[in-house]
Symmetry: C2
Subunit: 591 residues, 2 copies
């Protein structure tokens, strides 16, 4: 059995034979190590047909392996059928990662070719300590004839809490404090944040594909501009140039780096690719960019705008939930896809809506048991008037980024559905209401969301919370709340999701997600403490809660949250919807 993908893999083997390569590594990212690459860099998809958001491929003369994590095992098995490629599981106890696997296949004289443009400098460096590594930029280009170009969407300026001059001043001070002269900002969201610009080069991610090189008295922005004719980009370039920022061609980045002499250059260990690293001749400090951490801490203006955009996003959500309930009650036939489209419509009516922040997960029943379910456009399952419907969605606005999951009972639910719904809500509330000492990393409070689930022998295989940008990536690091050993502390001003879940294969899935802002909780003789303020505003359906499973403070939290939703959104809704929301947010009382 063979298909287009097995043919492409064979073609790559032909290239390998002609070049004398024993193995080729194709990474799932782009030259900026973005989590979501543009189509041009979806090399794993082109080669194997696998469409998951995380995956690396190794091809040898007699093996083709895809390395991906728990989220994508089912999907990978289906998509790899007939390609000859084999799934290698990661994030499981028995995982054998790529370098280790290569070590089992080859000696140190093996020739390993990597796409040096899309592999991080760190990865290639560690491979070099074991093998003879050849870096080939855009390795697949000779085979991939209709490869998409690098996207060039209009680049526009945004209002921001701090001006780009203030941000650049801070960055230069940070360079000096760390004994560096120059920094290459290579992560796309960091460039966008520093320059207060946005674009749409990557779906859902409002960034422009570019690099920024900042020295003591200059800032060079390497961006695609050869064919720029749109007025927004021209205006942006014009304004930035007036501020002293040089606009240079994207493909001249490596050359500029090579010309640096007698300087100490800070390269971002998380995002710089091997090709750029190897272009550098001067002294290099390879460590995480200081912009990542700073960007996570929202400034007062950004916080104010994020609060406002969550009101508007909440209104869209409530309109959607009302429409859903009414339509199903009226016996209308609604598919998962229809629901996702309708929600997108409500969001698009918001004044400063700039698109969704990721592809809406609209999943009924057993579909929701896949945490990263992809709603099919054709023949999407219909919503039925019983059981649970899960909707995970978010918007990009000039005033911020949202990410919300609601699990909605569409009618009668099983005892198991009711219990799972309540336990996940318990976990969500326990994290949302947690207080913790300043300096606490997210991994130390991840258990707050899990303990109620663990107590009932339940668990979920994904993280509890990810950082969220300000009209930037819906995933933003390095801070997070998960079962890792990440040392990054939660800091006042950070925005993080709170999204525990329970997934029962073939049955149903529950996830409850709000965004939380880290805020000051006061200082006592035991130190300074932090807490969370919930930004997301959309009621939790209390009708199927098993009240016996909630503790008093959890019930109080739920009632207070639903009341806040009603009091904030109610006055902004028309009478009919306001009355409906009043019913939906009525406090539940302990018998």
């Amino acid at each position: 059995m063979s298909n287009i993908f097995s043919e492409r893999i064979e073609a790559l083997r032909g290239l390998m034979l002609s070049r004398g390569w024993d193995a080729v590594i194709i990474g799932g990212s782009d030259p900026h190590q973005s989590e979501y690459p543009a189509d041009r860099w979806k090399q794993v998809r082109w080669l194997t047909g696998f469409t998951g958001e995380a995956g690396d491929v190794v091809v040898t003369l007699d093996h083709c392996g895809l390395w991906t994590d728990t989220r994508y095992f089912i999907q990978a098995r289906e998509q790899l059928e007939g390609t000859g490629a084999v799934l290698h599981k990661t994030r499981v106890p028995e995982e054998v990662l790529i370098p280790e696997w290569l070590g089992m296949q080859f000696g140190s004289d093996a020739v390993i070719a990597v796409d040096s443009l899309c592999q991080s400098a760190q990865t290639v460096e560690s491979l070099r300590s074991c093998f003879n590594v050849i870096g080939v930029p855009d390795l697949l280009s000779v085979l991939w004839e209709d490869r998409p170009a690098i996207p060039q969407t209009p680049v526009f300026r945004i209002r921001a809490g701090e001006t780009r001059q203030e941000k650049l001043r801070w960055l230069r001070e940070t360079l000096a404090e760390n004994g560096c002269d120059v920094i290459l900002v290579s992560a796309l969201d960091e460039v966008a944040w520093l320059l207060n610009i946005r674009a749409s080069d990557i779906e859902y991610n409002p960034m422009a594909i570019s690099y920024l090189l900042v020295g003591e008295d200059y800032a060079n922005w390497y961006v695609l501009k050869d064919e720029v004719e749109d007025p927004q980009s021209l205006d942006t370039f014009d304004v930035l140039a007036q501020e002293g920022i040089s606009i240079l061609p994207y493909d001249s980045t490596a050359l500029s780096l090579a010309e640096l002499e007698d300087k100490t250059l800070w390269l971002d260990s998380a995002s710089v690719n091997a090709q750029l690293r190897e272009a550098v001749r001067c002294r290099v400090v390879l460590r995480p960019s200081p912009v990542a951490e700073r960007k996570e801490v929202k400034d007062p203006k950004e916080i104010e705008w994020m609060r406002e955009c969550h009101i508007r996003d909440g209104l869209a959500m409530e309109k959607f939930l009302y429409w859903l309930e009414r339509s199903l009650a009226a016996g209308k036939s609604i598919s998962e896809w229809d629901a996702a489209v309708k929600l997108g419509q409500y969001r698009s009516e918001i004044a400063d809506y700039m698109g969704d922040s990721f592809e809406t997960i609209s999943a009924y029943g057993k579909g929701a048991a896949l945490p990263h379910y992809i709603t099919p456009k054709e023949n999407a399952p219909l919503l039925e008037p019983h059981g649970l419907y899960l909707c995970d969605s978010g918007g990009q606005y000039l005033s911020g980024t949202t990410d919300i999951t609601r699990t909605i009972p569409l009618g009668d639910c099983t005892d198991e559905e009711i219990r799972d719904y309540t336990l996940v809500l318990k976990g969500h509330i326990d994290l949302a209401s947690a207080i913790f000492p300043a300096g606490t990393p997210g991994c130390r409070i991840d258990a707050a969301a899990r303990l109620p689930l663990w107590r009932n022998l339940c668990n979920y295989g994904h993280g509890t919370g990810h950082g969220v940008g300000f009209f930037l990536g819906v995933h933003e690091g390095p801070h997070q709340i998960r079962q890792n050993m990440g040392p990054e502390p939660l800091v006042e001003g950070m925005v993080t999701s709170d999204e525990p879940g329970i997934y029962r294969e073939g049955k149903h899935g529950v996830r409850h997600e709000n965004l939380l802002l880290t805020v000051d909780a006061g200082t006592t003789e035991f130190g300074s403490f932090l807490a969370f303020e919930t930004l997301t505003l959309c009621h939790f359906d209390a009708s199927i809660i098993d009240v016996q499973l909630l503790d008093r403070y959890e019930l109080e939290w739920l009632n207070a949250y639903n009341l806040k939703v009603f009091e904030t959104l109610g006055p902004l809704l028309d009478e009919e919807l306001r009355q409906w929301l009043k019913t939906k947010t009525a406090p539940i009382v302990l018998e």
Copy 2:
């Protein structure tokens, strides 16, 4: 101002001048890196007068510094007065550790002398990468004229779940699996565990100062035996020799190591000292000993005996608490010291009692605000019929090791005392009743005990739980439950303490401590889960609990625990005490 200690420090400086040393490092441990060294190796105490259980000293020609952690700041400041030595704080955000501090004082040509016998090989190795390090075994001996000898107490055999032959067989298999031929077991509790022997060389720690070298077909026990005349030791040596274990002089260990040729030797990175490391000529693998992890997992016999010994220990505790209440009610004058002595007496009446497992902390009122308070023998504070009395104690028995803390209301308590008492109990219960996935390290569930305290802006500066040995050290690693990033998972069969606290300087201290056995909690579609079985049996005084602060499951846990204490211990107590315990363990009911 000067005293005996400043004179000793000056004498050391004289030695330094004559030898050309720029700095001397004196560690707080012994040649086995024991947590509690015998008197011979209390070098820090001899040099500076500081008696804390953790501290290292650096002496230069113009500075003497003691590095110790939060537990000992107050004590160190008091004890160092007049010595000229200065406190350097560790485990604080601004800590500057010894290597870093030395780097700020000296260049790489500085000559740093270390006591290579009492410093770990790893520490010395990392110092050598920065400085010119001279290792001097027993560095202080030329100055310390009446230095105590290495202790030699009777060595006796114990009953154990596995024979020493079974344990040695497992160790040899582990060596082979790891590509090693020989292992030097250098941690004292590991030698005792492997050989099923005990002694009393170190107070509270039933171990014999010795090394064990295990090869494919031999086992050499290096132990002090020159002057052995006691029948227990002679019998032990005799039996072990008959089993093929060679008994060799303690001071011939280094020589034996030097003679190993063409072998791969496993040295325990946690406990091998620099002097032994440097004696080795063959290939060395320096990593944590496999014995540490294996020893932590108690076998079924040890678990059975530990359960039994906690019944007997619990009886002693209840007798003590009854005596305390009656004596105070009768108006008797009881000091902290008197109470500690009385508790020791009750324990010593138990058939297989072998001593206490650490020095009893008997602290009334503000004394209890110091987590590591030392009860003074002379002029100890009297217990008063109000407020809180804290007693942290434990026993060594042939059938196991115990460690228990109770905080006892002696009469009226302030609202703050009642609240702190209840919150700490809440934290204790939340950890004791936690369920968690197999493979979870202790650091991931530490928050279970802290979250209820954090929620009320309280915290404690020590770990929540430490491993406990089977008739071995009351502190046993590597697993623990604390705010670190330790990866060691909690495993079925491990025993760990659960001891959150709240300490208010100048007012009071609360700590509630039981020992927990890790047990299986079942397997579901979400994986295997573990839980805790509480081993300790002694009621918690429910009379001053603020019931409003407890959640339903916490109240249920407390009532069930107190009932279990009564049902287990009641039948073994005389009628009067049984009736008293019945009252003390009566369930509390939510109004």
